[in-house]
C-alpha cells in the first residue's frame, strides 16, 4: 500500500467491498465483466522505430473506437510503454505490465531483439503476447510458446515467395544485399533458398551496416557483375538511400531492382520518388489492395489520423481484431491462459490484408504475399499487385505447441 493516498485506500476498500458483495450475488462470469480490459502496448514511441509504434497503436484504436472502447462489456484500456527499441528497457517495462499493471494482453514489440529478451518472462508468466511486428524466424520456431502469437510476419515469409517469381519473370542471376543484422540474413537467406530452388544463380552477396548512407561500393560491385536482378533487404532511411543511389549509379534499367516489401513500402516511397518506379517486392499488405475491408479500413484510419495506413497499421488493426474476437468467444473472460490460447488459435476473419488466420502449429500468421510493382497509377506513386502467393505459411517447426 506504499505510496497510496488515504482517498485511494478508501476507494480501493469500497471497491473491494462492493465487488465482494457482487460476488455473492452474481456468477463469476458477470463479475469479470465491467473490469477494465488492460492491454499493455510494448512498442517504440521514440527513436528510429517511433513511426511503427504509432502506426500499430493507431491501427488498434480504429478497431476499439468502432466498438465504443468496450469489448464484451469490458472497457478497453490501452497502456503505452516506450521500449526505446532496447532489450533491457523492454524487459523493465514488461515487468511493470506483468506485476504492477497486471495486463490481460501484451502487444508488441517492433524489434526482434526486444522480442528475444521478453520471450522467457512471457512464457513463464503465461500472459498472451500478440507480436505485432518482430519478424525473427525463431520466435515462432525453436523459441515459440503456446502464449505467443504473431499477427505480422516471419522474416522468411517476406521474401521466400518472391524467389520463384523473380526467376520466372525477371531472370536467372541475382545479386543479394541486406542490412547487416539478424533480419537481413534471414530475409536474404529465404529469397536465396527459393531462388536457387527455382534454378536461379546467386552471383554475389554483400551486407551493409544498419544506418549507412553511402552504398557506392555495392553499386560498383553490382554494376561489374551485371546480374538480371538485385534483391535487397533495407528498411527506413537505408531503403531511401539505397534505392536512390541505385538509380543515380545508372543501374536502373539494366538491373531489375527487387526486395522484401520494406524496400519500397509506403513509408519510404514518397522520398524515393521516381527512383523506385519499376521495383518489384513482396509484402502482406499495400494500401492499394481493393478488397472491401481495406477500403473501409483506409477510410476509418484516414479519419482517425489524417494519414493513409501502412503495413504496420494493418498489423495493429488485426492484432486488435484478434483480441476482440477472443473476448467475444470467451464472454470477456481472460483469466485462463490455456483456454485463451486455444481460442485465439482458431480465430479467422477477413482483414484489410486478405484472409487472416494463424497457423495452429506455430502461432504465426498465414499470409497471402503480394508480389507488387511500383508504378504511378490511379493512387499515385504506389505498389500495385501483379501476382499473389497464396497462403504462405512459415515452414518452421514449434516443439512447444501441440496443435
Amino acid at each position: 500500500m506504499a505510496g497510496m493516498s488515504r482517498r485511494q485506500v478508501l476507494r480501493t476498500g469500497v471497491a473491494a467491498g462492493v465487488s465482494a458483495a457482487a460476488g455473492l450475488a452474481f456468477p463469476a462470469l458477470l463479475r469479470a465483466q465491467g473490469k477494465p480490459l488492460k492491454i499493455g502496448l510494448l512498442l517504440p514511441y521514440s527513436k528510429v522505430y517511433a513511426v511503427l509504434g504509432e502506426s500499430i497503436t493507431n491501427g488498434m484504436r480504429v478497431v476499439f473506437e468502432a466498438e465504443g472502447n468496450r469489448v464484451a462489456g469490458r472497457p478497453v484500456e490501452l497502456l503505452r510503454e516506450d521500449d526505446e527499441v532496447s532489450p533491457p528497457v523492454g524487459l523493465r517495462k514488461l515487468r511493470k505490465f506483468l506485476t504492477s499493471d497486471q495486463v490481460d494482453f501484451v502487444v508488441g514489440p517492433v524489434s526482434s531483439a526486444v522480442a528475444a529478451a521478453i520471450r522467457d518472462p512471457i512464457h513463464q508468466a503465461k500472459v498472451i503476447l500478440l507480436n505485432a511486428n518482430a519478424g525473427d524466424n525463431a520466435l515462432t520456431r525453436e523459441r515459440c510458446s503456446p502464449y505467443i502469437f504473431r499477427t505480422s510476419f516471419s522474416n522468411w515469409q517476406t521474401s521466400y515467395g518472391l524467389g520463384a517469381w523473380a526467376k520466372q519473370h525477371i531472370g536467372g542471376t541475382a545479386y543479394l544485399t541486406g542490412s547487416d543484422y539478424a533480419a537481413g540474413y534471414q530475409i536474404v537467406g529465404a529469397f536465396r533458398e527459393a531462388f536457387v530452388a527455382a534454378g536461379g544463380t546467386v552471383v554475389g552477396e554483400s551486407y551493409v551496416k544498419l544506418g549507412s548512407t553511402d552504398y557506392a561500393a555495392i553499386m560498383a560491385k553490382i554494376g561489374a557483375v551485371g546480374p538480371a536482378l538485385s534483391f535487397s533487404f533495407f528498411a527506413g532511411s537505408d531503403a531511401v538511400h539505397f534505392v536512390k543511389q541505385f538509380a543515380e549509379f545508372g543501374l536502373k534499367g539494366k538491373v531489375r531492382l527487387t526486395g522484401a516489401g520494406f524496400l519500397v513500402s509506403d513509408d519510404v516511397l514518397e522520398s524515393q520518388g521516381d527512383a523506385a518506379v519499376g521495383a518489384v517486392s513482396t509484402l502482406h499488405y499495400t494500401r492499394t489492395l481493393q478488397n472491401p475491408q481495406n477500403l473501409e479500413f483506409r477510410k476509418r484510419y484516414q479519419a482517425l489520423t489524417g494519414k493513409p495506413p501502412d503495413v504496420y497499421a494493418v498489423q495493429g488493426y488485426d492484432t486488435a481484431r484478434v483480441i476482440l474476437e477472443a473476448l467475444r468467444r470467451t464472454g470477456g473472460d481472460t483469466t485462463d491462459p490455456e483456454r485463451l490460447s486455444g481460442v485465439i488459435r482458431g480465430i479467422q476473419f477477413e482483414s484489410p490484408r486478405g484472409r487472416f488466420r494463424f497457423d495452429p502449429a506455430t502461432h504465426n500468421a498465414i499470409n497471402d504475399m503480394y508480389v507488387m510493382e511500383v508504378r504511378r497509377g490511379d493512387e499515385g506513386l504506389a505498389n500495385y499487385v501483379v501476382s499473389v502467393v497464396k497462403e504462405l505459411k512459415d515452414p518452421g517447426h514449434c516443439p512447444n505447441i501441440t496443435a
Binding site: A2, Y45, S46, A50, R80, E81, D82, E84, S86, P87, P88, L91, R92, R95, K96, T99, S100, S112, A113, A116, A117, R119, D120, P121, D136, A138, R143, Y181, A182, Y185
Partner: protein
C-alpha cells in the same frame, strides 16, 4: 561522523526491509539500482580517484554478462563459479587494454577506452554463432548459489536474488571504500591532482592506473554478470558506448570521488527514467532539462554538494 553512521545504518535497514514492503515491480527496480550502483561505484574509482575518465567502462559490464551467459547456458555451472569466471575474464581484459589505454591522457585516454569497448561491441554483434548477434543471448538461467559444504541456496525468486544483488553491491562498495582510504587510494588521488609530481616522487604511476582499471573492471563485470542472470538476457547494447555514457552520467549526477554519490546517482537516474518515461514519450527532453538543472545547482554532484554544506 555520528550522524553519518546513523544515516548509513538507516539506509542499510531500509534496503534490508525493502522486500517486506515493496511490491515486485518497484523491488525489481531497486534490485537493478543495486547493480547499477555497483557499476557506477566502480567507475567512481577511476573518475573520482585516479582521474581516469573512461568512455568504455560498459565493456567490462557487458563482458561479465556475456561470460556468465555462456558459462551457464553451455557449461551448466552454478552462480559462484560463473561470477568468478566473469570477474577474472573482465579483469584480464581491463588489465590488458588498460595497459595500452593509459599511454594516452585526457581525451586520448577517453578515445582509447571508447575504441576498445567498441571493438568488443563489434565482436558481440558479429560473432552470431556464439553471441547471438544483434538478438543477443536469451534464456540465461538464474543458477543456484552453491556454497560448498553449506549446501545450495536457490536464488530463483525475486526476493532471494535481490539479496544477492544487495550483498554484491554492499561488498563491492565496502571494498572500494577501503581501497579509497588506503595508501593506494591516496596515491591514486595524487595521480589525479598532479601526475608529474607523483612520477617525480618515484611512484610507478602507470602500474597504479592499470591496477585501478583492473579492480574497477572486475567489479563492473560482477554487476554485469548479475544483471544478465537477473534479466535472463544479454545483448550487444550492454557493451555499447551509450551504456558507458549512462553510467558516467550516474557518477557525475551523484558526485565523483564520494562512492555514495554514484549510488544516489544510479537511483535518481533509473527512477526518473522509469517514472517519467511512463508519463510521456518526450521523457528524454525532461530528463535532459533535469540533468542541466543538476549540473547548475549541484556542480559537484548531489552528494558532493550536501557534504560540502555540512562541512
Amino acid at each position: 561522523m555520528r550522524s553519518a553512521r546513523l544515516a548509513a545504518g538507516a539506509a542499510a535497514a531500509l534496503f534490508l526491509a525493502a522486500p517486506l514492503v515493496l511490491p515486485p515491480y518497484p523491488l525489481g527496480l531497486l534490485l537493478e539500482t543495486c547493480l547499477f550502483a555497483l557499476f557506477a561505484m566502480s567507475l567512481d574509482l577511476l573518475v573520482g580517484w585516479a582521474g581516469l575518465v573512461s568512455l568504455g567502462h560498459a565493456a567490462a559490464f557487458g563482458l561479465g554478462g556475456y561470460t556468465l551467459a555462456l558459462l551457464t547456458l553451455h557449461g551448466g555451472v552454478s552462480l559462484l563459479p560463473a561470477l568468478a569466471g566473469a570477474l577474472l575474464l573482465a579483469a584480464a581484459w581491463a588489465a590488458l587494454t588498460g595497459a595500452l589505454c593509459v599511454r594516452g591522457r585526457g581525451v586520448g585516454f577517453l578515445m582509447l577506452t571508447l575504441a576498445f569497448a567498441q571493438l568488443l561491441h563489434t565482436v558481440a554483434y558479429k560473432w552470431t554463432s556464439v553471441t547471438g548477434g544483434s538478438n543477443g543471448l536469451a534464456g540465461i538461467p538464474r543458477p543456484p548459489l552453491a556454497l560448498g559444504p553449506l549446501g545450495t541456496l536457490p536464488v530463483q525468486g525475486e526476493t532471494a536474488f535481490y539479496f544477492v544483488a544487495l550483498t554484491a553491491a554492499a561488498a563491492g562498495g565496502l571494498l572500494l571504500h577501503r581501497v579509497g582510504r588506503s595508501p593506494v587510494g591516496h596515491i591514486l588521488q595524487g595521480i589525479r591532482v598532479n601526475e608529474a609530481r607523483m612520477r617525480a616522487l618515484g611512484y610507478p604511476v602507470v602500474r597504479y592506473k592499470v591496477a585501478a582499471l583492473t579492480l574497477a573492471g572486475a567489479l563492473a563485470a560482477l554487476a554485469g554478470a548479475l544483471h544478465a542472470a537477473y534479466t535472463g538476457y544479454v545483448s550487444p547494447e550492454s557493451l555499447d558506448w551509450v551504456s558507458s555514457g549512462e553510467v558516467l552520467i550516474m557518477v557525475l549526477l551523484g558526485g565523483t570521488g564520494t562512492l555514495l554519490g554514484p549510488v544516489v546517482g544510479a537511483g535518481i537516474f533509473l527512477f526518473l527514467r522509469e517514472v517519467v518515461s511512463t508519463l510521456t514519450e518526450h521523457w528524454m527532453l525532461y530528463l535532459g532539462v533535469l540533468f542541466m538543472a543538476c549540473v547548475l545547482l549541484f556542480p559537484q554532484g548531489v552528494v558532493g554538494v550536501l557534504r560540502g554544506r555540512r562541512a
